[in-house]
Symmetry: C2
Subunit: 330 residues, 2 copies
C-alpha cells in the first residue's frame, strides 16, 4: 500500500509525572497498586502535594505506541487533545520530535481544562500505579478526526482508555468508518481491566464488527471474556477478530490467528519501571505487521520493544529499537 | 548553632529540558559544547523545535545544591523566582518535595516572563551543553530576600550565574549583610568560566570582603585569577578566602585552608550525564561543613554526591546519598 501513514493512533494526550515511592505511600494515600485510576483536579493537587520530586516525560498509551513506531522509522500520526499551555507544548514537541505527525488543534490558553497528566508512582518492585487527571484529553470528539488522515492510514490504533464519554465514541466511529471505508484496518488495545469493565459490551460489539487486531494483556482478556482460563478466552477472541496479541507479563506474549496460537518469549530486561510495557509491545508488533512480518516475528519485535522501555524510567523508547531488532536477527 | 537553616541557596530557578543528541547537532545549530549559553525567547523556541524528545527535570545550579543538602536531611531553604505557570508548579513542587523551604512569591500568571528553563543537550560522551532561557528567574531582586531567613541561616550559598543584573547584585548584597550581620557565613560558586569573565572584578571584591567558602572548578579558578598554573591560582585564592573547594574533573577535588592543600579523590562512577556534578559536589561538601567534618571528609562527601548525579540523567540526586556516605565509612 502507498498510503501516507502506516499507523495513526488515537488516545489520551498525557504528560507523565513520574516519581519513586515506597509501597506505604500508596496505602497511606489510597492509591491502588498497579492499575490506572482516574482522578479529578482536587485529588490531583492533593496527591501531587504529597508525592516526592518527579520527572516529567510525555506519555499517553496510544501516544507511546505511536512514538515507538516513529522511533522505528514508521510513518505515523497521533490524534489527541492538548491545551495551549506549557504541558501541551511539551507533549506536542516530544511526539513531533520523535517523527510523528500531530496536527490536532489545541484548546486555547483561556480554556478551563489543562493538558492531561498522569502521576505515575513507581514502587521498588518497578510496578507503576497511575493516577490520571485527563484534563482536556477527555474532550476528544468527532471534530478532531481528520477524515483525510484516516483514509490515508494503513492501520488505525485505538486506545481503550479514550472510550470513556460519548464524544469519543463518536470520534472512534468516525475514524473507523473513514479508515475501513478506504480499505484500512483497525487495531484496538483494551488498555486496562477496569476499562474493560466499564465498556465490555461496547468493546465486544466494536471487536466483532470492526477490529482486525486486538491488543490486551491476560488480565484484560479475562475481564473481557470472563471465562475460566486464558486459553478459553483467547479461543473465543480468536474467532471474533483476525489477530489477537495478548501479553503475559514476564512470559512474553501469545498471539492467535487462524485458530493457531503462537508464543513469543519475553526479552531479557532489567526491570526499572514497567510503565509503557504494553504500549511498546504494540509498537513493536505493529511495526512487524506493517512490514509484513510473520506472527512470531511481530511478537518478538513487540517483546524487544517492551523490554527496552521497562529498563528505564518513562514510557517512551530511549535506545535505538531498530538496532535491538537487528541484534536479535529481526 | 541553633539556627533554623543550615544552608539557604540563592540562584536561578530553572526547569531542565534534557535530550540526547549527537555532536553534529551541536555544530549544526551553533551550540558551544560543554558550557552554559544564555539564550532569548526566539532562540529557545528555535532550538526546542529542532531538538529531540526530552525529559523535564527541575534544575538550577543552587537549587540542585539545596535539593542535595535536603536529600541528606539538612535544613535548607531556596530563594529564586518562578512564575505562576505549569513549569513554576513543577519547580516549586520538586524542591519542596525534597524537603527545602521555598517561599518566594511567584510572578503572576499574566506576567510576561515565564519560568526559566534550560535545554540541556547530552552528547554520547556524557558532556552537557546548556542553553538557558532565564525567564522570570532573572528578575530576582532585593524584595525577594527575606531578611529573617538570612539571619536564621548558618550559611548562605550564592550562585555566580545569578550575578547578571543590578537587581540581583542588590539581592546578594542584602542577603550577605543580613547573614553576616547575624554571624552566619557566605559561600559562593563561580558557576562557569564565562560567568567569571563577565564579573571578575565584582566577584573578586565579593570574595575578599565577604566570602568564607569558595566553590569552583579548575577552569573557573583559572579564569578568576588568570595565573599560569592551577596551584598558583589556588595559592592566591587561599589567601583571600577561608576555604577554597575546587573540583578537578575526573581527578576529584582540591581544597585549600590555612595554606594547606588537601586532595579528595573522585568516586567511581559510570558517567551518563555530567549535568549537576559541581552542584552536587557543593551539596556534599556543605553537608560536611555544617556537620563539622574535617576538610578531607567534606571533599569526599562532595565527590560521592557528584558521582551519584553523573550516573543518571538529570541534576537532582536519585539514590540515597546518606547510604552512599555510610558505605564509604563517612
Amino acid at each position: 500500500m502507498s498510503r501516507r501513514f502506516q499507523v495513526v493512533g488515537i488516545g489520551n494526550s498525557i504528560v507523565d509525572v513520574l516519581a519513586h515511592c515506597e509501597d506505604a505511600f500508596l496505602t497511606d494515600n489510597g492509591v491502588e497498586k498497579g492499575i490506572m485510576q482516574l482522578i479529578d483536579t482536587q485529588r490531583a493537587a492533593e496527591l501531587y502535594g504529597k508525592m516526592g520530586p518527579a520527572k516529567e516525560i510525555s506519555g499517553g498509551s496510544a501516544a507511546n505506541t505511536i512514538a515507538g513506531i516513529a522511533a522505528l522509522g514508521g510513518c505515523t500520526a497521533y490524534v489527541g487533545k492538548v491545551k495551549d499551555d506549557q504541558l501541551g507544548d511539551i507533549f506536542a514537541h516530544d511526539i513531533r520530535a520523535q517523527g510523528a505527525v500531530f496536527e490536532v488543534p489545541r484548546s486555547p490558553a483561556e480554556a478551563t481544562h489543562e493538558t492531561g497528566r498522569c502521576m505515575v508512582l513507581v514502587t521498588p518492585d518497578a510496578e507503576r500505579s497511575m493516577n490520571t487527571y485527563l484534563g482536556v484529553s477527555e474532550h476528544l470528539g468527532p471534530d478532531d478526526i481528520d477524515v483525510a488522515m484516516m483514509v490515508d492510514a494503513e492501520w488505525i490504533y485505538l486506545e481503550g482508555y479514550r472510550f470513556d464519554g460519548d464524544l469519543s465514541h463518536a470520534a472512534f466511529a468516525k475514524a473507523i468508518e473513514a479508515c475501513k471505508g478506504a480499505g484500512g484496518k483497525v487495531s484496538l488495545t483494551l488498555s486496562d481491566p477496569f476499562c474493560v469493565e466499564r465498556h465490555r459490551d461496547a468493546f465486544r460489539t466494536m471487536i466483532r464488527d470492526h477490529v482486525d487486531l486486538l491488543f490486551c494483556n491476560e488480565h484484560e482478556m479475562q475481564a473481557m471474556y470472563q471465562l475460566t482460563t486464558l486459553d478459553d478466552c483467547l479461543a473465543v477472541a480468536g474467532q471474533e477478530v483476525e489477530t489477537v496479541a495478548c501479553t503475559i507479563g514476564a512470559s512474553g506474549a501469545l498471539m492467535v490467528r487462524d485458530g493457531q496460537t503462537v508464543h513469543a518469549p519475553a526479552s531479557a530486561a532489567e526491570v526499572v519501571d514497567v510503565t509503557g510495557a504494553g504500549d511498546l509491545f504494540a509498537a513493536g508488533f505493529l511495526h512487524g505487521i506493517v512490514n509484513s512480518a510473520d506472527l512470531l516475528t511481530c511478537g518478538k519485535m513487540g517483546c524487544i520493544a517492551a523490554a527496552e522501555v521497562i529498563g528505564h524510567i518513562g514510557a517512551r523508547p530511549e535506545a535505538d529499537l531498530k538496532a535491538l531488532f537487528l541484534r536479535e536477527g529481526l
